[in-house]
């Protein structure tokens, strides 16, 4: 134990700026960034994304090319009509899981570890803290998401070269850029879910069920109701951005779909912020 006199240790070291006035948002951003980069789960999830996404953007086109002769007419037509979408979708479908899990953990693990009490002591302006966390995480996933999207695109295009030459027209760039946008919004959606549920396992179950099970089940509902539900389910709505043309049971355009996803996320974010402010820590 240090035996030095406390008065010398606790003599104030010059800090940046006065501690009065509003908590600088920049400080909160720095703190949230430090939190993100100091835990292993961040690295594992993102490494997994970086491996899985391009891998599946290779695997599915590769298998398509290898089995082209056995493919049905519909399958062949699907590829020819929207090669980019066909390349991106597998990577997206699987890569999104690691983003969703990370998003949940970023917020919910604070509660499961008790860290939230330290966080709220350091940043009692709760909504501002949630905003800083959201901004940092969204930007991180956006950057990495764009990188893996473009990587996946180029790998897939290369794999399909023997079948079809894929060009990236100005209209099609949405499909690739949208990959990163979708992942970022999904990450934020998961973060919000984690903040609402405050339980890691529960929130992960929820988001994975939403991504893998619910979307598929909804598509089985017949009629107009089925189409509405399918279109406005948040993750489905967002996923549309990587398709060249939306499927028949989807009622909005790709960008509109992404807008719906963003709206869902925004509304839930406001709810999470309100609850955060009101609930006991």
């Amino acid at each position: 134990m240090a035996a030095s006199s406390s008065s010398s240790i606790l003599a104030p070291v010059a800090a940046d700026g006065a501690g009065t006035g509003h908590a600088h948002f920049g400080r909160l951003l720095l703190a949230e960034w430090t939190k993100l980069r100091s835990v292993r789960s961040t690295y594992w999830s993102l490494i997994l994304l970086i491996i899985v996404f391009p891998f599946f953007c290779w695997l599915f086109p590769y298998l398509t090319v290898a089995n082209w002769k056995q493919a049905s007419a519909t399958q062949q037509a699907n590829l020819m009509l929207d090669p980019i979408g066909q390349v991106m979708a597998p990577g997206q479908y699987l890569g999104q899981l690691s983003v969703a899990v990370l998003g949940v953990m970023v917020s919910a693990s604070e509660y499961s570890t008790g860290m939230v009490r330290s966080t709220l002591l350091a940043s009692p302006h709760r909504v501002r803290m949630l905003a800083a966390k959201s901004v940092v995480f969204f930007l991180l996933v956006l950057v990495i998401g764009e990188v893996v999207s473009f990587a996946g695109f180029f790998i897939g295009r290369q794999t399909l070269k023997s079948l079809i030459t894929v060009n990236l027209n100005s209209g099609d760039i949405r499909q690739v850029v949208g990959g990163g946008l979708y992942l970022a919004m999904l990450g934020l959606f998961a973060l919000v879910l984690g903040s609402l549920i405050r339980h890691v396992a529960g929130a992960i179950t929820g988001i994975v069920a939403l991504l893998l099970v619910v979307s598929g089940l909804i598509s089985l509902i017949p009629g107009r109701t089925g189409k509405y539900l399918y279109t406005y389910e948040p993750t489905n709505a967002g996923f549309a951005i990587i398709a060249k043309h939306v499927p028949d049971n989807f009622l909005l355009s790709p960008w509109e779909g992404y807008g719906v996803f963003a709206l869902w996320t925004a509304v839930l974010w406001v709810l999470a912020a309100w609850l955060l402010e009101r609930r006991d820590a």
């Binding site: 134990m1 406390s6 606790l10 800090a15 501690g19 400080r27 008790g114 940043s123 009692p124 009101r278």
Partner: protein, 355 residues
């Protein structure tokens, strides 16, 4: 300076904190005492903005906690050492807190050295022992060099050297003019550390006064006298107006007199004395007496006969009615309803549990 005004916190039908008014002033160590479930942790959490009060308020240097721009620079708190992400290193944990409050990295290094975690600073905190975790929490509390320091059970998990260290640290912080607010169950530690006491029971503030006044008001000291000529001595002492209390072991407890006076009486009368001892009351005894009526969770059965370590009154059970026992005084200065009136009947058997 911490100032609480009519602070109230209700969880459903249960009143955890009941119109608490108290002040924690700088320059001294203020102990926060109370039985389990009295509302200590709830009060501390409300002070720190973790819980929202039902009514009333508490300010820190005039502001509620949420209004402090860089709260760690004004208040440092150790509420529980487990409020840490196990996957993060101690250094990074402190770094996060420092960045959030605009503190430089040098502060992190300084407090790590202060608490003696230098060798494990870059290890993940999940692997820390209880004592190391506690020291990390203390480091976090001192990170911003705050004027107010709040500790909840700081010695929990510390070895004897650590306990001595934290006691001296708290005294040094108070001597520097800081406000030190510490809650603990360890009476012996509290008696050595605190200068001022705030006692809470069943959500109500039972006392808010300096330590020596608290002990004097809530317990009694007496002189134990043994003499082979007690039959002659006792009436002489009673004649002087002192209360004289026969004990089963032929000794006598004398109240309101000091040993010198009694010795003088014996000497003047030419009577032999075999023992003349001043039995000082302890903080533990004073505390037990004051809060006996406010204990919510009490051990049953065997513990009912347990008595405080020093300065025993012949109580007929833990916290039983003192006025029933011979010579036992009522507790002065304490409102009548918190004094024991056959307390076992007054406590409803099915008390609500806290969350």
């Amino acid at each position: 300076m911490i100032q609480a005004t009519a602070l109230t916190k209700r969880y459903g039908p249960r009143l955890a904190v009941d119109h608490a008014d108290f002040t924690v002033a700088p320059g001294k160590v203020t102990g926060f005492l109370g039985p389990n479930g009295a509302g200590k942790s709830t009060t501390m959490r409300i002070i720190l903005g973790l819980d929202r009060p039902t009514s009333g308020g508490v300010t820190i240097n005039g502001l509620p906690y949420q209004k402090l721009a860089a709260p760690l620079r004004e208040v440092g708190a150790l509420l529980d050492a487990k409020a840490v992400h196990g996957g993060r290193t101690a250094y990074n944990h402190l770094l996060v807190l420092a960045k959030a409050n605009g503190l430089p990295r040098a502060r992190v290094d300084a407090v790590i050295d202060l608490v003696g975690l230098h060798s494990v600073a870059k290890k993940r905190s999940g692997g820390f022992s209880l004592g190391m975790g506690q020291r990390l929490g203390i480091a976090a509390a001192l990170l911003g060099d705050p004027g107010i320091v709040m500790f909840d059970e700081p010695v929990n998990g510390l070895d004897p050297e650590g306990i001595l260290w934290i006691r001296n640290l708290m005294k040094a912080l108070a001597a520097e003019g800081r406000t030190v607010f510490v809650s603990s169950h360890l009476m012996s530690e509290m008696a050595l550390t605190a200068d001022h006491l705030v006692v809470i029971g069943l959500g109500r503030i039972l006392a808010d006064e300096p330590m020596d006044r608290f002990i004097a008001q809530n317990s009694v000291s007496y002189v134990r006298v043994r003499s082979p000529q007690m039959a002659e001595l006792a009436p002489r002492l009673a004649q002087r107006g002192w209360k004289v209390d026969q004990q089963p072991d032929y000794s006598v407890h004398v109240y309101d007199a000091n040993p010198e006076q009694i010795g003088d009486v014996a000497g003047t009368e030419g009577l032999w004395l075999h023992e003349l001892t001043l039995v000082q009351s302890s903080l533990e005894e004073a505390f037990m007496r004051l809060t006996a009526g406010s204990v919510e969770y009490h051990a049953g059965g065997d513990a009912a006969g347990a008595q405080p370590a020093e300065g025993q009154q012949p109580l007929t059970g833990w916290g039983a009615a003192p006025q029933g026992a011979p010579g036992a005084p009522g507790v002065p200065g304490v409102p009548q309803d918190t004094q024991q009136q056959g307390w076992s009947q007054s406590q409803p058997p099915n008390k609500e549990r806290i969350q």
